[in-house]
Amino acid sequence: MRSASRTVVTVLLSILVLGPVVAAAQAVSGTTADERAINGAKAYLKSKGLTSLKLNMMMPSIFTAGSTGEMANFEKETGIGVNYFEVGILQIQAKAMSEAVAKSGSFDFWIGDPISLPDLVEAGLVRPIDDLVARGKPDLDDVVAGFVEQGRYKGKTYGMFGDGDNWIMVIRKDLINAPGEKQKFKAKYGWEPGCPDTYEQWYQLAEFFTRDPKGTGVPELYGAMGYRARGWGWRWWLQQFYAKGGMPFDDNMKPLIAGKEGVEALKDYIALTKFMPKDILGWATPQAYPFYAGGNAFSIMTYPSIAIAAEHPEKSKIAGKNRYCVVPGYMVNGKLVRRSLQGFGNLLYVSNYSKHPEAAYWLSQYLTSKEVSARLVSGPNSVWDPYMKSHLTDPRVIKARTKEMLEIHLKNAQVTAPMILIQGAVEYNDVLDQHVQEALLGKLTPEDALNRTAAAWEKITNQLGRKAQIDGWKALKPAFPTKNVPD
């Protein structure tokens, strides 16, 4: 049910069958999605007899700066404004769960990642928005294939996708092009240094460019960066695991992670860590971006918004010195398989307990329209990453992110796999995270770590009911990419 084509079919069907009756009466006027959102919001206010309205919005504290301007615009146009309620990015899930219990309606909508969607839908917190989508006709068809699926669950649409968080690889072309480096590298590894095709090549690059001339153990230049902190590190392993051709479960929800692919991926994942800053185990974006932008590392695998930090004319020491790469992969059965991960990806959810779900929806549609999303994505402080085809050609986005980066980003999107978006996802992931980190720390062998994870996953699956989980997993499978490498 999760493929893009199926979605289009579903939407078309609903429009075809129900549309003429319902939608015709309620369809909102306007030529673009943002106009329709504004008109819809105005009409909503009018129908409620209001002139203005303040919605409460929960968002990760990291997201506000990039978004507040557009919300102010929307308020100017419609009279519907927003009060922000900021929460630590890893506590969004907890707060949402607590609201699912509380049913207080204390926030109308929120920004959250797709991982929590199945649980929050089951908990009754998320309002399906198909009816409103039918009326507002958001720019769903412009969203990169697969991404729109992340906001859907069991055949219904629950969230407007707004953040193309599939990963990108960045390396330092200035360092490669420095005199003599290419030759030295080629002599040592036998290939011309550049974007790595495989993780082995990335390892070689990282090894080569880690520079510790004084041998202090604190290099002047680190060869690689990724995320290894609690709450984050598992995603980077999962990506490598996917590239190995691995799948987390079989059709009966038996965990497959502890197989050869998983163990090898984990070994590589651990091996690469030695070229990273030591404190990487406690870092996330706010630490990693400035560190990379400070010119302290040769390469990084992370969210596309790294481009904003790395190309920042004042704050970055390495603006213009970066090369954006399609993510590396593994040779599987003699063929290269590249996999990027939709490693966070934010959705705009509307709360079931909101007093003004429709108003919240219109704002969501406004923020995810072609025009406004282009402004958001290209904003100077943005953490929203490009996710629409139109972003590729939008001059504002190109200016902020560079053409090269955008093209690479959308290429990566073609091989982007989802996280484990089934019920209990948070718990599955937390267990995985814990064990991956313990393997990383040398507390467990890779085999042991993954076997324990598998055992824990079995327990979770049994608790949640195997049948339901199998259904959820089957529904997710079509969202995995079919291409091995992007076109």
């Binding site: 907890a94 902190a229 404190d279």
Partner: protein
């Protein structure tokens, strides 16, 4: 003297004759017979009777406990016998599964580890705090130049929000941070311990945060304890020829027992709840090396939505803690009683 000073109530106005033992002030009657007093005085007079008065503060306090804590306790117990997740509809519709959640909890290695770890933290942190606090208090015992400054500074950490402490230390403890810098200078070689992301060092960081902050409290308790030591027994011991060490061991330490009891109870009581430091320093990581009970239950309830399991674990934890509570309270009671007996000549 004279009429004006007479009791304002004529006999009988307050109590009907032949009605021994029970009060029956009639506010109206009081008003009539004493036009100078308003009905407020009447009410106050009624509240003032000892059997009413002594219960006055108990009404709101017990009410608060009864309305706030009791229903929660009952709800907690009820939930623990169900199999409810937040993702499974309303709790009152959840199926009754008896002891399943409890058995599950006892079979949950992660929970058992978290319990063990939390007690482990307390077992390291509390004695450290006691020893440090006691040592510092001993050093600050007699007057000397600068004593006031020392004591003032030593009390500071207690007054800082634990979240601020957690935040502050997370800044100091990064691998290329001030703390490692100081260690490097002291050691004469580069020290690059990853205090926040090394499996063992992170535990030490959490314990260190607790010790840094709460040694202030044990110090305070011991300073007051030492100041309150009676002089005569110590003088008597000196006259009897005891040396400093013997006096300390045989006279002062036994006299300090109640003070030590307070410090132990106060600190271990709070140390078992430890949440802020791991939450702010390490999020329970790396791995689960700093995941305390509170952090795990937080995740269990709010991230994994497994409320019934969390409730069962909470109750198991309560049983474990109540053993401790029982001991702590016995100690406190004994010490207070002993003191009361000693005080009576």
């Amino acid at each position: 003297m004279g009429g004006s000073e007479r009791p304002p109530y004529p006999p009988g106005a307050r109590r009907a004759p032949g009605d021994p033992g029970r009060s029956s002030i009639d506010a109206q009657a009081t008003c009539r017979t004493n036009p100078g007093r308003s009905w407020i005085d009447g009410v106050l007079a009624r509240l003032e009777r000892e059997r009413v008065f002594k219960w006055l503060p108990f009404v709101p306090v017990q009410g608060l406990f009864a309305l706030l804590l009791l229903p929660n306790a009952l709800l907690l117990v009820y939930l623990s016998f169900l199999s409810w997740r937040i993702t499974r509809g309303a709790w009152w519709n959840a199926p009754f599964t008896g002891l399943d959640s409890f058995l599950g909890a006892l079979g949950d290695e992660r929970f058992l580890w978290a319990v063990g770890r939390t007690f482990g933290f307390a077992a390291v942190a509390v004695p450290l705090e006691l020893l440090l606090g006691f040592g510092l208090a001993l050093l600050c015992r007699e007057p000397f130049r600068g004593r006031r400054i020392y004591t003032t500074v030593f009390l500071l950490p207690m007054m800082i929000v634990p979240a601020v402490v957690g935040y502050d230390l997370s800044m100091l403890l990064i691998d290329q941070g001030p703390f490692n810098q100081v260690l490097s200078v002291l050691a004469g070689r580069p020290i690059t311990v990853r205090w926040l992301s090394d499996y063992t060092a992170a535990k030490l960081a959490v314990i260190g945060a607790d010790v840094w902050q709460w040694t202030a409290l044990t110090f305070l308790v011991f300073v007051s304890g030492l100041a309150g030591l009676p002089r005569d027994p110590i003088r008597a011991a000196r006259v009897m020829g005891a040396n400093r060490w013997q006096i300390f061991w045989h006279v002062e330490l036994p006299l300090l027992k109640p003070v030590i009891a307070i410090a132990v109870v106060l600190r271990s009581m709070e140390a078992l709840k430890i949440f802020d430091y791991p939450m702010l320093l390490t999020q329970g990581g790396p791995g689960n090396s700093t995941e305390t009970i509170a952090v795990y239950l937080w995740r269990m309830g709010w991230e994994f939505a497994r409320v019934s399991d969390a409730a069962a674990m909470s109750l198991i934890l309560l049983v474990v803690v109540s053993v401790y509570i029982f001991i702590a309270i016995r100690v406190l009671r004994r010490e207070r009683r002993r003191l009361a007996e000693e005080a009576a000549p």
